[in-house]
């Protein structure tokens, strides 16, 4: 069972290596959106420090949305999805593998780049660390939740827009607790409670999202 899990992760990582532009688009989108705010608002450090958590999290949400479209679409087009549906392993395991690989190439770079972008907002070391932890816990949850929407809209016309409408409302809890943890840390309240909630959301989505995605893929592929 874990063979297929490993095979699909290795395959998707290899494909991402061969087609780096797709990966870089998401990353640059995140960098540009985050960098636009200091340019627009001007060098008022107090304001920037205040809005940083929200800006980072909204940018991460949108970047994650942007990457979703490609998650299953290419497999659907070239017939690889049919073979996944007919593999003798539970489809949800394969989905989990695909989403994990997807997160490694679209989510992890955001986490790693956030300290650099944090400097633009004059964030302290501790705040940046909290930000990284929230992104590390939150972005996989975003990928998992988004996968359900991507699977449901597979093969539909205008699927891209529909995905946003379906998925963005579901992202709201992650946004609230992600940005909230950083804000709580800055204000001195401590973000542990928010982080626990983010962790809980992540665990819940690891359990439930692959099953829902697998069911949606079976319907969409008919």
């Amino acid at each position: 069972m874990f063979d297929a899990f490993r095979v699909i992760i290795a395959r998707d990582l290899l494909l991402a290596m061969r087609r780096r532009s797709d990966v870089l688009t998401t990353l640059f989108f995140f960098v540009i959106v985050v960098s636009l705010f200091p340019l627009g608002i001007g060098p008022e450090l107090d304001t920037l420090r205040l809005i940083a958590p929200g800006v980072f999290w909204v940018a991460a949400l949108l970047a994650s949305m942007l990457a979703l479209e490609k998650l299953f679409f290419v497999d659907y087009q070239d017939g690889a999805l049919e073979q996944m549906l007919l593999a003798p392993q539970p489809l949800s395991i394969l989905v989990l593998g695909k989403v994990f690989a997807h997160w490694l190439v679209t989510g992890v770079p955001l986490v790693l780049l956030s300290p650099l972008l944090g400097l633009q907002y004059d964030l302290s070391g501790d705040t940046i660390l909290t930000m990284m932890i929230t992104l590390l816990l939150g972005t996989p949850a975003l990928s998992l939740i988004g996968a359900i929407g991507a699977a449901l809209t597979l093969g539909l016309r205008g699927g891209g827009v529909l995905v946003s409408l379906l998925v963005l409302p579901l992202y709201i809890p992650v946004l609230i607790f992600g940005a909230g943890a950083v804000e709580a840390e800055v204000s001195g309240l401590g973000g542990a409670g928010h982080l626990s909630m983010l962790g809980a959301i992540l665990l819940l989505s690891i359990l439930a999202a692959p099953l829902a995605t697998a069911a949606a893929l079976r319907i969409s592929a008919e």
Binding site: A4, R11, R18, L86, P88, Q89
Partner: protein, 211 residues
Amino acid sequence: MLDVVNLQCTRGDRRLFSGIDFTVEEGELLHLYGHNGSGKTTLLRTLCGLVAPSQGEVRWKGEAIRNQRDEFAAELLYLGHKNGLKDDLTGIENLLVACRMAGLKTKQDQAWDVLERMGLRGHEDLPARVLSQGQQKRVALARLLLSQAPLWILDEPFVGLDVAAVALLENVIAGHVANGGLVVLTTHQEVALTSGKVKKLRLGWKEDGHV
């Protein structure tokens, strides 16, 4: 082994086929034919379990396939219209990924041998996107040579192949049937087998030779 009972499929409001009954046993080949749009591909996809029938059921070893999805999948090899190849992976990588996903422990050198037998010597490590249609089809069909699945479901396997490849594929299919395998395929050409039994099933309402 493979039993189809009173199968009916609808697409939207349109009934594609209904009341289909047949059985395929070990060492038999079922040749599906019929005019374009008669539902051949849909029937094959229903046999695999990709499409849910609106009535009736498909049974494998006496048990409905929807109750034994993983067990059935382990004994099935389906090659559809789409090859399922990744454009950015080489022929070897594509073949290895496909086999390992199907639960086989295929080795690198086995894959090289098989692609050579499929007439792809020298093209094994080119990305699939630079291969011609026929070569891509050969890479996809190479899975047949490594498969241990008793049931093969093939949708138009001969399309896009040259004469030599058609002969090779016919041999492979005949060999599988002779070894007690089951094959269900659609094609517009005659299928000759040296041993085993060929069954035919015609879908659609039009007479042969009419447009």
